[in-house]
Amino acid sequence: MEVLLFGIAKDIVGESLIQFSESEKVPTSVSELKQMISETYPEFGKLSSLAVAVNSEYARDDVPLDRNDEIAIIPPVSGG
């Protein structure tokens, strides 16, 4: 499973994506993903907000994750 990273999320992790290999624990929902990355990278907890997109749509915490989904971490947006 791959998770795309943008903006400050990329800086926090130091990579442009997080890879979960089949052998390790893979998040099964949006809330589990948020929890797992916040534990590994506590800097995520300091952000104004943290959203997740599944297949390029904002996804609520209860949305399940499949390894074929396109998943992205969406830190606070600041376009315009």
């Binding site: 952000l47 992205a72 830190p75 606070p76 315009g80």
Partner: protein, 139 residues
């Protein structure tokens, strides 16, 4: 007749927008251009860098343009955002609408930029002399 332009580009040419929104059924065109300001809270900004989650950003921009067309009677709508490194005074976003009468395009224009800032996955980094800051990242 009803037309939407939604784009992410490397460089914005603000002279295009009038022609793009011009329409025989419109008596008014309203455009907002967002540009790079030199000072943020008294600190001198060298440049801004914009990054987009392109696929999702285009989807969200398209939703905003469609929503605006539902809320107001608009003939043409445009949302164009730039990515990459932008110097002071450079245009970074253009939104606009044309309509039969001015009220609709004025209101729509404000909606387009305000909603873009809330929902579109684009990120802005301020580059100062000695540091860089992702805008709005922290409370």
């Amino acid at each position: 007749m009803s037309e939407k332009i939604v784009e992410i580009v490397d460089k914005i040419d603000t002279s295009q927008v009038f022609t793009e929104l011009s329409d025989a059924h419109s008596g008014g065109i309203c455009v907002f251009v967002g540009t790079v300001r030199e000072f943020t809270q008294n600190e001198k900004v060298m440049s801004l860098e914009f990054e987009a989650y392109q696929k999702m950003a285009l989807k969200e921009m398209d939703k905003i343009a469609s929503d605006a067309k539902e809320k107001w009677k608009l003939n043409k709508v445009i949302i164009r955002h730039a990515v990459g490194l932008k110097k002071v005074e450079a245009p970074v976003v253009v939104v606009g609408a044309s309509s039969a009468h001015r009220d609709a395009c004025f209101e729509a224009c404000r909606y387009l930029i305000d909603t873009l800032k809330e929902t579109v996955p684009i990120w802005k980094k301020e580059l100062f002399e000695n540091k860089t800051v992702w805008v709005s990242a922290h409370p």
